[in-house]
Symmetry: C2
Subunit: 222 residues, 2 copies
DNA sequence: TAAAATGTCAAACAATTGTTTTAAATGAAT
DNA sequence: ATTCATTTAAAACAATTGTTTGACATTTTA
């Protein structure tokens, strides 16, 4: 029997069984993937009964969906800081890049969220659609593209701007998705788990702004 | 269900069972991942018996290893074209980007290689070490970093150059790894499965060269 | 030609999978 | 105290998993 709407206060003592499952499932799914993770591994780590998953969530698939959406949902805090971004287009781009990277790499949160995002992007399920529509597309359409348009003074078509936006976003995403490669390729100045977000965001912004300035200059010349 | 094959003569000569398994395993592993793929799905697609996998390969794990290493090995052709790259640093960077993207996206080969690479990078096994050491590091150390050094006239430290190299590579890798996102984000000018490598490589090169030129100019000014 | 070797197959194996069932607790409402 | 929905737990379920078995057919070897 499925749990009904919280009409009244939760009957039995701990509502935390559900939360314990979500937390444990995040770790196991990130490590083993959807197929590799077993309900028994999840419930064991959570210290609850096997049947709890099918009770609190319809089945394994819905549990996975819930976990992915929770892990990928952009925090309200970031939404706000981006919406509030003011000042010169350069400053706005810098703020955008910084907060996007902060969202991607957030070192204050357990690392399984990063793994799960990477896994989902490399091997998408239905959850990716929501991730794109709710997080990435608004970021791009409402903040990134307009800002890039300003920075280039309307010199470029939408398609060209789209490519440029990809170049900016790709640099941010690189440090999320390719962490296993970066660890191997740059062991000299990369210490695992400790991202220098400030430094990375600074480079990405500088590199991108430099490209934009030069591209605009070239476009104006012709 | 006994399709009753026409007494297919199985004997010593038929080495192609092994090849059929490898090909089918590539597709299934790319689609379902290691855990999600079942030996029965593989052998069914290959049109061979279930026991064939355990006969020709020790077990499922060894089959996966064999498939991944085959898929990720860089072609000798690309090694050669990169080694032969001559001309101005700008031309060399362009050639580098183009051939790297060609290696990543190679549309003449079945798409499961791309998927498998993406999967491996997001969720590395021991095979990733070989991929990095044999493919990515030589590319970076022998071709990318020296070329970038020339283009910036020695204005930057190794660490700064390393960041710049990351920016260039990230743009290339983006179109490999984030294909599911690109499909959703840019349905207007992206047609699934048909990459315009020429166009993408052209943009990446132009964007990167523009950034390098402006960055160098700024560095010289101070 | 006889015997060993090789490759393939259907069938069965033991283990594990996600899920369901059944029953026992628990706390709030009557 | 009784009722009742909600939550947990143990056991059983049917299906699927990777792997092994043993027989059969073919080739190679001697």
């Amino acid at each position: 029997m499925a749990p009904r709407e919280p009409r009244a206060a939760p009957a039995v003592a701990e509502e935390n069984t559900r939360e314990k499952i979500l937390e444990a499932a995040g770790e196991v799914f990130a490590d083993q993937g959807f197929e590799g993770a077993t309900i028994r591994a999840i419930t064991e780590r959570a210290g609850v009964n096997v049947a709890a998953v099918n009770y609190h969530f319809r089945d394994k698939a819905e549990l996975y969906n819930r976990v992915v959406l929770d892990a990928c949902s952009v925090s309200a805090a970031m939404q706000k800081t981006m919406a509030e971004a003011v000042g010169s287009p350069e400053a706005r781009l810098r703020s955008l890049v910084y907060h996007f990277m902060e969202y991607l790499l957030d070192p204050t949160r357990p690392d399984w969220r990063r793994k799960l995002k990477a896994r989902e992007m490399a091997n998408p399920t239905a959850a990716l659609d929501e991730l794109v529509e709710k997080n990435l597309r608004p970021l791009r359409e409402e903040f990134l593209l307009p800002t890039l348009g300003e920075l280039t003074g309307g010199c470029f078509s939408r398609k060209e701007l789209s490519y440029i936006a990809s170049s900016v976003m790709s640099q941010c995403l690189y440090f999320l998705q390719y962490q296993p490669i970066i660890e191997r390729l740059n062991p000299d100045y990369y210490t695992p788990g400790k991202w220098n977000i400030e430094e990375i965001a600074d480079h990405v912004t500088r590199f991108s702004l430099a490209a934009l300035r030069e591209l605009t200059r070239q476009a104006r010349r012709s």
